[in-house]
Structures are given as C-alpha cells and as structure tokens.
Symmetry: C2
Subunit: 294 residues, 2 copies
C-alpha cells in the first residue's frame, strides 16, 4: 500500500519506520528541514539497544494519493491539518490523537473519507528529526469511526505490518478511546506534576489512592460500563510502563504545550455539559496549564 | 523594651518597623550587607500607597540582651538559629514560624528561656533589603508555649505596639497554631500549583470543592475540635486576603525553597504516626517539592 504519515513526532516516525518494511511510506512534516533529514538519512529506530534504519520518502505537502493516511499530529494541531485534507479524493484516514478532544471535530468533519481512529499503546521518544527510540512495545488498537467501516482486507493487512508493531481491530471506537482516555487522565497529569515515572503511581500508596479518585471522576464522566475492568487496565498500564516517562511529563520537562486539553479538558467539558463536578480533574488541568505558562 | 528581631525577611522587617515607634529595635540579619542597608536607610514600609520610615539598629550577631526577641526565620532555618540562643541569659523569645514543623524542635529545646509562639496573620512582601510592603492588615496571635507563661505586663505591652499592628493573646498555643496550619495547608499549596491569588479558591467552584477535601484531611489529622468553625475560618481568610499572593506561590515564583515541610510535611508526619492516609496532602506536598526542584 501507499502509506502517508502526517506528523514527524515520535508516533509519526514510529509508524513510518514499521510500515516501511512492506509498504511505500511518505512522511509529511511541517518543517522542510525535517523532510530533508528524513530523505537523506531514512528513519532510524532504536529498540532494545539495537538500531535499525528504513528508507522512506518525506515531503511537506499532504496532497499525494495514499491508500492509507495516518494523522499523527497532536490534537491541538488538527485544526490546521483537516482543511488540507478536504479536497483530496476519498481515502482511508486514521487519526491517532490522544484523548478525545478531537472527536467533536471529527464528528463535524464531512470530507467524504473513510475515517478510522487509533489508540497507540507504544512508548516512543523522538531523539532527533529522523531518529525515534521505541521505549515500550505495545499495540495499536484501531476502529472505524462513527458510520464508517473497515474492509476485511484492510484489517488483515494491518494485522501483518510487522511483528513488533501489532494492530488490533476493535468493534467499538467509543469504548476504545474512552478506555485510553481514562488511562491518560490517570497517569499523565499526575506523573507530570509529581515528576515521577509511571510505575510510581502504583508503588506509592498515597499516589495510588489519589489516582483512584481521579479514575472515579473520569470513569463516571465517560459512563464506563465496567469500571472495575477499566481500573484494572489503568493499573496494568502503570505496571507495564513503570520505567516510562509519560508524554505529559516529557512535554512539561521540555517546556512544550501538553495534551491537557485533549485529556482533562475534554473530560471537564463533558462534566460541565452534564452538570457534574470533577474537582480532581479540574485541579490537575489547571495545575498543568499553570506549569505550561511557566 | 529592647526588642530583637532575628530574620530580615518580610515578617522580620514588618515587626521591626512597627515596634520601632515605642521600642528600641535591633534587626539581626544573616547577611552583613542587609544589616548595613538597614542601618543606613532605616526600615521603609509601604502600606495603602503611603510610605513610612523607621530608624532601627541592625547587626549580624544575636548576642545582645533583649527584653523580647522575635525569631522570624523560616522553619527550616531554625536549626542554625537555636544553638546561637542557648548560652544567652533567660529571656522572652517568640517564634513566628508558619506551620507546626518547628514544634517538635521547640519541645526538645531546653535553654531556659520563656518561649512563646506567634501566628502572623498579616500579608507582607519584601521589596528590598530594607523595604517591606504591608499588603494585608491582620493581627499577630500569640500564646505561651508549653509550660511557659506570659506576664500581664507583657500582654498589655504587646497589645499597644501600634494601632496597625495588633497583638492578640491566646490561651491555647496548640489550637492557635493548628488553626493557622489548616489555613496554610488549604491555601498555600493550591495557590502555588494553580498560580492563583487566594480569593480564587472560594470563587471557583471546583477549587472550593477540592480545598474542602484538603481541609478534611488536615482537620482530621490535627483532631480539630470544631471543624465547622475551622472551615469557616479558612473561607474567611480566603475572602479577606483575596487579592494576596500566598507566601508559597511567591516562593515558587521566585524559585525559593517553600515551607512545604513545615505545613504539609508536618501533617503527613502526624498522619503517618497515626497510620492515617492523606492522599491529597501527599499529592500537594510532592507536587510542590517537584516544583522546587524545577
């Protein structure tokens, strides 16, 4: 397949690298220098102390015809990406944003594409414009977004991208994204404020108790069907990624804008609409926003 | 009276200024340059847009004979101050630290002085080595520390220091410090993390709810007798100081060490001794500590 990947961050580079083994990949970056760096060096991936390199194309224009296009920019960058995709011929597009802040935008977006959403459960750190470190091996869960469907052929094709990069088809996009959102709401802001690795949240009794309070707010807001299973999932992600630095902690440490809006901001909006209170999420959201402002 | 004030921070300068009208005051500073600046310029106080100046002595040695000595250093600086006072003749010493982190130290301290503790309910910001801005007019509550007593003469004398600087005698030092500690535990860390003025904590519904959770932990740990009155006190301090920047927010903004140990740290120690959990205080404490480290 011809694969396009919009976004040259850690997730974009990770996708481009693993797809390049069996597919023709083009990375679409914002900065011209990054596209050049990728064209010259290919994409380098570091995992388990080993290094690999993959030749890929790169450009700054998203207008070529792709069989499958991944959108791997942050949620708050979508508003500049979506208009660029509106006049293209219908294609498969998978959105990989964290949280659910992009969902209202996608619901309004009517550009005739087959839209999918994915939840990336890999840990990855961008080392430079063309190098990514694969720090936590997981899976990409994906699903068809409201009203769309996926062909058996696409499901099969994605299942066999690379053994270290499994795709897992999910029937229900809402459950999938809500589950991931709860994990992010529990882990990201706490680790960013406390400046701890993910594992600490289950190792320290006080953090564990506090995270449970955050979980209860988030799962109530999203009307999670099986809260017990969802809480177990949060705990297992903490354990499985215990040595990882959450993306929000990395953003805060680097002085970048975080995904607070897509994660806590979305939950607070839903809570407000329902007239519910969510003091822990509000406190986390505003504290992260205060950190962002310096 | 001969008055000594150890500490040239905002509280020390405030005390030295107001006592200088009817008493002979010496400020004892850590830095020689500050003592010189005070000797040369006197202490300048800015309040309600007006400026006053008071001539005071200043030195770096705390060894002269004072009728009353105020210790206005932060709690974590006490360990270097106490030994300097041990060989002096018995005198009246009033400790003005925030929180209750200094209480275990004072309980062990047996230097033969008459020890008092004070709770400063003024807002003050140090502008430079000899200038202080009196931003919130309140009172100084004071009490005799365990086993000590205050003479009627001293109580009367302190009651008439200056009309803008009232002293209020309290029978029970524990209730007095515990009440102040709860106020500090509720207001200081939240304002420092959210970077908001004190008033916001009662104006924003979510902050209000969150502060109530912090209050419940703190008042339970301190076994407060009348929690309702104590909560009302927290709210009224928020309202009365609504335009004030809390000392912890000021410390965090200036990159200084905060009083987190004396405030949340002390409460967490007490909670641990009692086998109680205090997830909100633990989260606030560790988040402030993470901020301090940058």
């Amino acid at each position: 397949m011809k694969i396009g990947v919009i976004g040259g961050g850690s997730v974009g580079l990770l996708f481009a690298y693993y797809f390049s083994f069996r597919h023709e990949v083009t990375v679409i970056t914002k900065r011209r220098e990054q596209a050049e760096a990728i064209r010259q060096n290919g994409i380098r991936l570091i995992a388990d102390g080993k290094e690999g390199a993959a030749k890929t194309e790169a450009t700054v224009k998203p207008d070529a015809a792709y069989d499958l296009l991944f959108v791997a920019v942050k949620a708050h960058q979508l508003e500049s990406v979506l208009p660029q995709l509106e006049n293209a011929a219908p294609r498969n597009i998978m959105f990989l944003q964290n949280g659910m802040g992009h969902i209202p935008e996608l619901e309004k977006w009517d550009a005739g594409h087959r839209v999918f959403v994915g939840a990336v459960e890999h840990g990855a750190v961008k080392e430079n414009d063309y190098t990514v470190r694969h720090t936590g091996k997981g899976a990409v869960k994906w699903s068809a977004f409201s009203g769309n469907s996926a062909s058996e052929a696409l499901i099969k094709e994605l299942a066999s991208v690379h053994e270290a990069f499994p795709f897992m088809w999910q029937e229900d996009w809402y459950d999938m994204l809500a589950g991931k959102l709860i994990v992010n709401a529990c882990i990201n802001p706490m680790t960013a404020l406390l400046r701890v690795k993910n594992g600490k949240l289950v190792e320290e009794q006080a953090y564990f108790s506090y995270m449970k309070l955050v979980f209860e707010e988030a799962s109530r807001i999203l009307a999670v069907e099986d809260p017990e299973a969802s809480w177990e999932n949060v705990l297992s992600v903490c354990r499985n990624t215990k040595r990882n630095t959450s993306s929000m902690l990395a953003d805060v440490a680097a002085g970048r804008k975080t995904e607070a809006d897509a994660i806590m901001g979305y939950l607070l909006k839903r809570a407000k609409e329902a007239g519910e209170s969510a003091p822990h999420l509000a406190f986390l959201y505003d504290s992260i926003k205060a950190l962002e402002k310096g």
